[in-house]
């Protein structure tokens, strides 16, 4: 191959890469692949833990992500709520991210109220946002009522039946955190699980999971969902195909494009180096 052609290919205009990626992620909109990923142990353990909770268990859900991570974590949040509703558990939902309250409210209403027709205050509660990050996590260990004196709608927690007898983490059978970063799973492990002895299950964006896998291995996390793939595995286990399983097609194509460009880049590099060696 001519040296100049190889040099041109090596400095390929990034817009070609963008175009290839755009076509790859858009293709599944027209041609469905529809493959479900194989269930991995962290996802199975997450699922089994919720299955094993006694019916009517009170579960604290901390959904901590922003609109940027919505595509990756919304399916997880929705599936978790569906699973809890299916099993008759009672979620008490909070968020520690200032850009999350409206996102989470929509999911809670969509699943608990509209899909399952549950009663607000008796079957589920949305306490909304409390700013303060780790300080809020620790404060909830002492008194949830003092930390969240009113729910998202301004109702005092004393008037909410599901909050009767709730003082701190001890009155919850599990803590589920869906997290896009800080504050999230890492802080819940560091400040809450070891100190207040509440089992923690985590769903996190794929980029955070390499860090959290150490916590999963040590048993500090009872289950771990990894990004959109973890959400898709969870949806498949629940038997409720949703947004994550649909997104797997786009992700598969996207990964193939990246791998193709890595290989292409290296082939060009190899030939260019050989040309240079020949002089």
């Amino acid at each position: 191959m001519a040296h100049s052609t190889l040099q041109k290919l090596e400095k390929l205009d990034r817009r070609w890469v963008f175009l290839a990626m755009a076509l790859a992620v858009a293709a599944p909109l027209f041609f469905k692949i529809g493959l479900a990923p194989k269930t991995t142990p962290p996802v199975k353990e997450f699922y089994d833990y919720i299955e094993a909770l006694p019916p009517g268990s009170r579960v604290l859900c901390s959904f901590d992500y922003d609109p940027g991570s919505k595509a990756e974590l919304d399916p997880m949040c929705i599936s978790v709520l569906e699973h809890l509703m299916d099993k008759g558990h009672k979620p008490v939902v909070i968020t520690l991210w200032s850009t999350a309250p409206a996102l989470i409210e929509r999911n809670v209403n969509l699943i608990c109220r509209d899909k399952y027709g549950k009663q607000y205050g008796t079957d589920y509660v949305y306490l909304g946002l409390k700013e303060g990050r780790e300080a809020v996590m620790v404060a909830m260990g002492k008194s949830i009522r003092a930390t969240f004196p009113v729910d998202f709608y301004g109702t005092p927690v004393e008037q909410i039946p599901l909050m009767n007898g709730v003082e701190n983490y001890e009155q919850f059978q599990a803590l589920i955190n869906v997290s896009a970063g800080y504050p999230g799973t890492k802080e819940y492990v560091q400040y809450v699980t070891t100190r207040f002895a509440i089992p923690l299950l985590s769903g996190a964006s794929a980029v955070s999971v390499p860090e959290y896998s150490a916590y999963y291995q040590s048993g500090q996390l009872k289950g771990l969902l990894t990004g959109i793939t973890g959400a898709a595995e969870y949806e498949a286990l629940l038997g409720k195909p949703g947004l994550a399983l649909i997104a797997m097609d786009g992700q598969t194509m996207g990964h193939f494009v990246i791998i193709a460009f890595i290989l292409f880049g290296n082939i060009v590099y190899f030939f260019l180096r050989r040309e240079k060696a020949r002089g």
């Binding site: 922003d66 609109p67 620790v138 002492k142 709608y153 898709a232 992700q251 193939f256 990246i258």
Partner: protein, 207 residues
């Protein structure tokens, strides 16, 4: 005294918060709870301070027609468009703030920003993953294996591929992550002690 008093306050409260952890007495717990609530209030107030700072810096640039003043103007207008309706109309489901500004404007914008990462990652992978050295080869090979292993058809490519990916994540990755976590934790303890003992004073600002 401007520096000594804050250092003394930090020392007293820092030592108290460490000691209270080992004294399960209601009176001590009560004081610790109160201090934690103060921390929450201070963090919440930092939002007010941050907002005021944004307005001051950007407002000044707009007034002086500084570089990029038009973008700053958009920022200031967007700030008031979110804050004022949010304060008076609420932020819950069905409100104008939620439906028009948050759901229909902010969410698509934020999602677009995040989604554009996929394009930049593809472009960066093309340029960065060149096997120039054996270390670069290991990095590129691992990246390809993990990417292949994270898609639904991985077991069709090779039935053991998902297991290989699990091994990569659970052994070399977890080992490195633990090292980083332990190192970071030791660093945090050292920094905390330096702040409490008044050795690290950067939080007080310049002399």
């Amino acid at each position: 005294m401007k520096r000594e008093i804050p250092i003394l306050i930090t020392l007293i409260f820092g030592v108290f918060m460490i000691v209270q952890f080992f004294i399960p007495h209601p009176a001590v717990n009560d004081i610790a709870n109160r201090l934690q609530n103060w921390a929450i209030i201070v963090i919440a107030f930092s939002y007010v301070l941050g907002s005021a700072n944004i307005l001051r810096i950007n407002g000044e640039l707009v007034y002086r027609r500084g570089p990029g003043w038009l973008y700053k103007l958009v920022l200031v207008i967007a700030f008031f468009m979110m804050v004022i309706p949010g304060m008076f109309l609420g932020i819950g489901e069905g409100t104008w703030t939620n439906d028009r500004l948050f759901t229909n404007t902010y969410i698509p914008l934020a999602s677009t920003m995040y989604a554009s990462l996929a394009f930049f990652i593809a472009s960066a992978a093309f340029r960065a993953f060149r096997v120039r050295t054996w270390q670069a080869s290991v990095l590129a090979l691992t990246a390809v294996i993990v990417m292949l292993g994270r898609i639904p058809i991985s077991h069709m490519i090779w039935h053991d591929l998902p297991n290989v990916v699990d091994w990569v994540m659970n052994v070399p990755n977890a080992v490195a992550q633990r090292g980083i976590l332990i190192g970071a934790a030791l660093g945090a303890i050292a920094t905390g002690l330096k702040v409490i003992l008044g050795i690290e004073r950067s939080y007080l600002g310049r002399e």
